[in-house]
């Protein structure tokens, strides 16, 4: 082997090693959490750490005992699904409007929809708390759905503009010449074509709601509590119940991991608010 080819070969190995290192570092804490969730609570803190042990479902059983977890799981699910549906409908329509029409002020209107995504959540939650308190909506799913719309509508809007831009206008125009109304052309022609984009946007919006903590911890109590808040309830005054935190955390992460892998092609686009296609 010539020295030049050897060098290239070694560089290639070096690249793979570094990339694998990045992958391992990204996954290690999550893997550790999953492993801990199957350990007997007494083994959580044994040093040196035990990696080979008899897996037990005890932590999961303790989390699920009492039926509270299911209730909060349902809250998380209902809030995230409702918010996603509303945001997709409103944001999708607006995205279509921005994608298909040129009008004065369109650019600034579109830009202004970025502001809610920039606002620190803590600054909106103070007035929202007083507002929902006055409306007697504290500790209801509605309070969460309404406040989650502040970030999911702009997300859906920005992501869907890109997907609608990808659909050729000519297709809709042809349908309209054949007698379709514009709304008909949107529903029959464009909607099926943006379906993958719509799915990706839905997944991302769902995950943002599913993961949200600050609004949930302030606006809900015993009734409308969601899963991220439930996890923190295992940090009691007397002790932090790490086994239960690991088990409930793992359960919360399962849909996240599944959806993230499903929508991975569109994640960067969504996370950069449509700035990258």
């Amino acid at each position: 082997m010539s020295p030049y080819r050897l060098l290239r070969y070694l560089t290639r190995i070096g690249i793979y090693v570094l990339v694998m290192l990045a992958v391992i570092l990204s996954l290690a804490p999550l893997v550790y959490l999953f492993i801990t969730s199957f350990k007997d609570p007494n083994l959580t803190f044994t040093l040196p750490p035990v990696w080979v042990f008899e897996p037990t479902l005890q932590n999961y059983r303790e989390v699920l005992a009492g039926g509270q977890f299911e209730k909060y799981f349902l809250n998380s699910l209902v809030v995230a699904l409702s918010t996603t549906a509303i945001a997709l409908l409103l944001g999708g329509l607006a995205a279509y409007g921005f994608s298909r029409f040129r009008f004065r002020g369109a650019f600034w209107l579109r830009m202004s929809a970025l502001v809610p995504q920039m606002l620190p959540p803590i600054t909106i939650i103070v007035p929202l708390y007083v507002l929902f308190n006055g409306l007697r909506l504290l500790d209801t799913r509605w309070a969460l759905i309404i406040s989650y719309l502040t970030f999911t509508i702009p997300l859906a809007l920005w992501m869907m503009i890109g997907f609608f831009d990808d659909v050729p206008v000519e297709l809709e125009e042809a349908a309209m010449i054949d007698g379709c109304t514009r709304l008909g052309a949107l529903v029959r022609i464009s909607l099926p074509l943006v379906a993958p984009g719509l799915a990706a946007t839905a997944i991302l919006a769902f995950l943002y709601c599913w993961n949200e903590f600050l609004y949930a911890v302030i606006l809900t109590g015993r009734e409308a509590r969601t899963l991220p808040v439930t996890i923190t309830s295992f940090m009691t005054n007397r002790a932090i119940l790490w086994g239960r935190i690991a088990a409930s955390g793992s359960m919360v992460l399962v849909p996240v991991l599944a959806f993230a892998l499903l929508a991975q092609r569109y994640l960067v686009r969504g996370l950069s608010r449509g700035a990258i296609k």
């Binding site: 959490l33 803590i122 007035p127 919360v252 991991l257």
Partner: protein, 305 residues
């Protein structure tokens, strides 16, 4: 008269309808956003000039002028939280950018299982922040955490990751870097892959080495993507709440108390909502200033090409 004016009227009507047609699609979402955002923001501005505490709000919410703001700016803790926020934002984003750029350059090679690698390294970014904060709290535990255990195995002393005021901020930075570097990398990677090939071929023919190519060609050509990536990282790091809250809750001794946590403490632990609103407004103004600066930089970068 009639046969002439009839089509004319319908023409203007059609014209009018065509002009308002975009409104039909766009108005609903902006209406909803206005109601759920502008009203709270206006209310919070009003609140920032009033006294609202849990003890006094039943008796009324008196106007107190700039008192909340005066109290805020004379509070050393507020300045402390600003200093900590900016230190954290600056260090975290800088490290994420350097590491992210390195990772992007690595991933820009023709690798096997590219899609799988990309989705695996992006997982931390998608995870529930509460879980991330708590998992790292477990890993960083001084006595029983495995980070210290393996450091000991390698011959290093245990580090007080979360309990030393000097180190805690660095631990928060480590977690944020772990959480978001892959996102920066994948954004930059998307930018790298959209670059034209010709300038790079020309550079190779002219005998430029890879370091020269990177600094004189890749970086300038990538400016737009870099600015957008930095903009979002700056804004998101500035807003961060849940990871810090669960990792350190702002401690020890306020060493990791960012502005968000400062506001949370005054708003929802002491329930001084007027004061918290004043602090919120200062935070919003700072954020708008950052966004405006970056938007101008991006606009300027756009005109270059």
């Amino acid at each position: 008269m009639l046969p002439v004016s009839q089509p004319l009227r319908s023409l203007t009507l059609r014209k009018f309808l065509r002009r308002v047609e975009p409104g039909f699609y766009i108005a609903p979402s902006f209406l909803v956003m206005t109601i759920i955002l502008v009203y709270p923001l206006a209310y919070s501005l009003w609140l920032s000039f009033h006294r609202w505490t849990l003890r006094t709000f039943k008796q009324g919410i008196p106007f107190i002028g700039l008192e909340n703001y005066q109290q805020l700016f004379s509070s050393p803790e507020f300045w402390n939280s600003l200093r900590i926020t900016f230190t954290f934002v600056f260090l975290a984003v800088a490290i994420e950018f350097v590491l992210g750029m390195g990772l992007a350059l690595l991933l820009n090679h023709d690798l096997k299982a590219k899609g799988l690698i990309r989705s695996l390294i992006l997982l931390p970014m998608m995870c529930t922040n509460v879980v991330i904060g708590l998992t790292w709290r477990l890993l960083f535990n001084y006595e029983f955490g495995i980070v210290n255990y393996y450091l000991n195995q390698l011959g290093f002393a245990s580090v007080e990751w979360l309990s030393s005021p000097k180190i805690a901020l660095w631990s928060v930075i480590v977690v944020d870097v772990w959480n978001t570097t892959s996102f920066v990398a994948l954004m930059l990677l998307a930018g790298l892959q959209s670059l034209p090939e010709e300038p790079f071929e020309a550079a190779r023919i002219d005998g430029a080495n890879s370091i020269q190519t990177f600094f004189y060609l890749t970086l300038p050509l990538l400016r737009q993507t870099i600015l957008v990536a930095l903009l979002w990282r700056l804004i998101d790091t500035f807003r961060i709440f849940d990871v810090v809250y669960l990792l350190t809750a702002g401690g020890p001794a306020r060493a990791t108390e960012t502005v968000s946590i400062y506001i949370y403490r005054y708003g929802f632990q002491s329930f001084n909502l007027g004061f918290a609103s004043a602090a919120s407004y200062v935070m919003i103004l700072i954020m708008l200033a950052i966004a405006a600066l970056m938007a101008r930089a991006i606009g300027r970068a756009e005109t270059v090409y």
